[in-house]
Symmetry: C2
Subunit: 621 residues, 2 copies
């Protein structure tokens, strides 16, 4: 069962969870990020006016920041054409085009800061990574506007890269140090139909990690000692072994997700069973060993990536926003390739938690890191020197609709729930629901003529009990690969009511995940909850204990945010003074009653700054 | 109350815990380490025969490995003069002396591998660190043999360093990138009485972290960009701020301990109150935020050091053996400077657990890292490329007696317990005890004539109840700075019986130490216990739960090791299959009864290889 996502331009969200975020993304984040790109010199870098000795040289990853913004802008424009945005996009595209060299080369850093060093340090210098983001922007702009300006610019650059790299005589046998170009080339192939882009992507993926190792040769050619590589191991960039021999998710988490996404794309486009098997193995390893309950991935700031199995500290979690976005990308590809809902379960977990936490409700603050506990010193920032996350969130939110529905033409799958509608061919599907605040979903079908197809309704992994009725008659669907399936001839006005029971549950972590032992994570529907100082004045949230049974939590409307559901209960507050003088004590802390209020993890740090905790110690008595 | 340690040459240990380790250290580890030093070219490096293009160039830290072995050999020789060892020491010393340059310079790496680059990269290249270890070896050899050969060699080198570094015109204002020389210079000052060595140590400590930053200037002088520093921050080597302004233990843990040891030495030698205050603040931070229950320190392998407060993962703990040894050094200095027993509590914790675990019972295997849980893949090795730990353990064990007793002349303090004797001036103190296996300690005094002094008996921090009698009469001592004090005129034959109650206790960690939440560490006396696969066939030790009350554990003699006490109880084994497909599950695992056997942490991985766990989940029912 292989699906294609229904494009976001066919999908409208008017729910209370995502629609406000999409609105803020469009009206606040996009201009905000652009202002920062301009203020920091990233836009003007394309003028190529920097000269040795000038301050603020174009950095090796700047091009990608601008490209990701442009991609986000194009998605936004596709849904909400806006002449101001159109003008701005043209201005930026003209600048980018003006920076293209006669032979097609297009990179501000190497053109002005390190001329002559082009393609000499793929390992460290993000050159092909930037190329990938430019290509994604070119494809997005073309799809949004049918204008080929940027598409042609990036195609010329892709042609140069295609001529430069490969296994033919005189070509370099290199591949991206920071993966990204691989998945971009698949998009370029799909947009242009030119098979050589697909083949170039295949080459990059297949060449990765072969011996003799390109990064060894490349380092020696620069006069560097390969053994002096700062990251010490090519596992940092998933080049320690050929990709089909990789069985563990390792290294820099964003790089890993972009590579695995490309591998999944190629497995699909070329029917490559061995690539798909590698993806399955890596997925299994990620989700059973190295993923936070929020869908955050990459525990350590050291390598911005993976460490060892079960090493998922809460307080010091890195869990970069971009890595969870990358996980969404990968899970989306796998779910559509296989038709398996288990991938959407992880996609949903990452999207509603680890990704949504990455941006403030006002659209002006961003987390780079998304820890699962805080001592009160972690807050969103307006921008970063390494600014990957803000435009990455922007492009995801601007194209969010594509994750909700998929189809193979004959069949339709509802992968995510949320109020809104989708046009799929001749058909319109309406969702009326308060999801994720409530599990009741009404699906209405509008069609000009009756149509036979199998409707797939995802049964979320978190749901253990549901009721399904069609036109007010209870029906018994088949369960296929995690979807409730109804095959029939559908008529306009058909109405399905899916009632997903959405109790408050405690998730318990694998016994080797230290941050979860003796604790539970509170979840309701797709949302992981946390305790935050703003609801607990006068007591550290780290000194609160939750009741033994999840059913002791009450579902209550938030008084701070419209539509939001908080969870409340009576728990205990313990006395931590035994540890004032030492980390260890023989004393069992005394306790007293305390009221607990939990909010969705993705909403923390949107009120008064303070502490936060996801994994809650449970009362033992 | 300021004490001086009673030298190890005055102290004899004939207990069942340390004496066998000292014996193995002398008879197995010392020859074993030497063989590896030779086999790997570290000894021959002093012949200065390496030429460009040859394999195996002398590494920047090789000299320190040889020096630490020599220091250990000297200590061993002092207690057990042995002509074979004497001959070997002379051979090595002659080699070292032959490598000294006409101006006193003495470093194999810079002499043959990077001639001309002497003292141009203090930040990264371990040059002054090696100098410190050579000096410590020179002092140790002099004290053991009264021979001045090596002492004079290293004094000449120290003179060159003294002439090179300082604040005078034409001198370099540098200081060691890897601290060590600072404390070595204090030893050299004490051995030679030459004050300029003390002043040089003061200079190095006071200069550290000042602005303009020496490592910035030094990098630029090499043509390097200071911002490209691989460790990113001078906190890595405790040079981010002047030492008196440092309030948090940061960076590479061994470096930190050696610096703080030197700061404590200087605070003592120069009555420097501000240095002492800095040490107190750093100590408080270390012990209330960043120390494992085993006395291990430095959570992360990335920087071999400290990360963030409460970040003490068990499975991925780095907790380098050398760092715990450094903690013993520092705690020893603070305990003698202040007369406070709280420092000895930490010293004892580190020594019996995080240090003792560093070497196998057969003396041929070494841990570099000392995690608090293992999946079964962590085992001691014969040697390491970075070989700091084996000779560091060897020198500590060979001089262990110095940690047991201290005196200020008029008063005598028993800091550690263990069967054996000490000669202190005219007096001999005998300890008859099974400590650490039993808390009953009989102290006998032998003296040629009655002597008046205050005897300090440390009341260990782990002990909450004791009985003390003198000549079979119960006495009530005063409690001073953690010591039970008896002031009287002592006669030969006086006998004290100190009975320290030594129940099995559960230590509970600060609620922010994730690896301890919902779990307890089992401790009896100074020993932290663990579960190991060898005692639990057919079940993962990570799936065992301990009874709610520590009193449920029975004290039993080990059947595997003589004298060793194991702890046994009936607990539960839980079914972890709920997490086979995901790290997170709503299921509460089912349990069944299981027998648990705990062994001292320091003994794990001495039988069949397998899993290990210190922090034990507790039954909740």
């Amino acid at each position: 069962m292989t699906f294609n996502p229904v494009p976001f331009t066919q999908v409208t969200l008017n729910d209370s969870f995502w629609q406000p975020r999409q609105l803020v993304n469009r009206e606040v984040s996009l201009p905000h990020v652009y202002a920062w790109l301009e203020r920091t010199g990233r836009v003007d870098a394309f003028k190529l006016q920097w000269r040795a000795g000038d301050p603020n040289p174009p950095h090796i990853f700047w091009d990608s920041d601008v490209a990701k913004w442009l991609e986000a802008a194009a998605y936004s424009y596709a849904d909400f054409p806006d002449s101001q945005l159109e003008t701005l996009m043209y201005k930026v595209i003209a600048l980018i085009a003006s920076a293209q060299q006669p032979d097609g080369y297009l990179n501000t850093h190497f053109t002005v800061v390190e001329p002559g060093k082009r393609f000499t340090n793929l390992r460290d210098r993000h050159e092909l990574y930037c190329a990938g983001h430019l290509i994604e922007a070119g494809v997005a702009h073309f799809q949004a506007t049918s204008q080929r300006t940027l598409l042609e610019v990036v195609s010329r650059y892709a042609d140069l890269i295609d001529a430069t790299f490969g296994r033919a005589e005189g070509q370099k046998r290199g591949y991206p140090g920071h993966e990204e170009l691989e998945l971009a080339l698949v998009k370029l192939y799909r947009a242009t139909g030119k098979k050589r882009y697909l083949e170039l992507s295949q080459y990059f993926v297949n060449e990765r990690g072969l011996q003799p190792h390109y990064y060894d040769l490349e380092a020696r050619a620069r006069g560097d000692d390969p053994a002096a590589y700062w990251a010490r191991t090519y596992a940092y960039l998933q080049a320690h072994a050929p990709v089909r021999e990789q069985t563990e998710v390792v290294g820099h988490a964003v790089r890993a997700m972009y590579l695995y996404s490309a591998m999944t794309d190629l497995a699909r486009e070329t029917d490559d069973e061995s690539l798909f098997r590698a993806c399955e193995t890596l997925w299994e390893h990620l989700t059973t060993r190295r993923m936070y309950v929020t869908g955050g991935i990459g525990s350590s700031g050291h390598n911005e990536g993976f460490t060892s199995d079960y090493d998922l500290p809460d307080l010091s979690a890195y869990a970069e926003t971009c890595a969870s976005i990358g996980l969404v990308f990968w899970a989306h590809r796998l779910s559509n390739l296989t038709g398996e809902s288990k991938y959407v379960d992880v996609l949903e977990r990452a999207l509603y938690n680890g990704v949504a936490s990455g941006v403030s409700l006002n659209g002006r603050g961003f987390f780079y890191e998304n820890p699962l506990a805080s001592l009160g010193n972690h807050h969103r920032q307006e921008f970063f020197d390494c600014a990957c996350c803000p435009p990455n969130v922007a492009r995801l939110f601007a194209s969010l609709g594509q994750y909700f529905y998929s189809t193979d033409g004959a069949e339709i799958a509802v992968q995510l729930y949320g109020q809104g509608s989708a046009r799929i061919g001749d058909l319109t599907l309406q969702q009326v629901t308060e999801y994720p605040w409530d599990g009741r979903i009404r699906l209405q079908i509008e069609t000009s003529k009756p149509a036979s197809f199998k409707l797939h309704l995802r049964l979320p992994g978190w749901c253990t009990s549901y009721r399904l009725s069609l036109n007010e008659q209870v029906v018994s669907p088949t369960l296929e690969r995690g979807y409730l399936c109804l095959q029939r001839k559908w008529h306009s006005g058909d109405e399905i009511l899916l009632d997903l029971e959405m109790p408050v549950v405690y998730l318990r972590s694998h016994p080797l995940v230290a941050s979860g032992v003796g604790r539970a994570a509170l979840q309701r529907g797709p949302l992981v909850y946390c305790l935050e100082s703003a609801d607990h004045s006068g007591v550290s949230v780290h000194h609160l204990m939750a009741p033994k049974e999840a059913s002791a939590w009450r579902v209550e409307k938030s008084t701070d945010w419209e539509s939001v559901i908080t969870l409340q209960t009576e728990g205990l507050q313990f006395d931590a003074s035994a540890w004032n003088k030492s980390l260890y004590s023989t004393q069992i802390p005394t306790t007293q009653p305390a009221s607990l209020t939990a909010i969705p993890y993705c909403l923390w740090d949107n009120r008064a700054p303070g502490e936060m905790r996801v994994w809650l110690p449970l009362e033992t008595r």
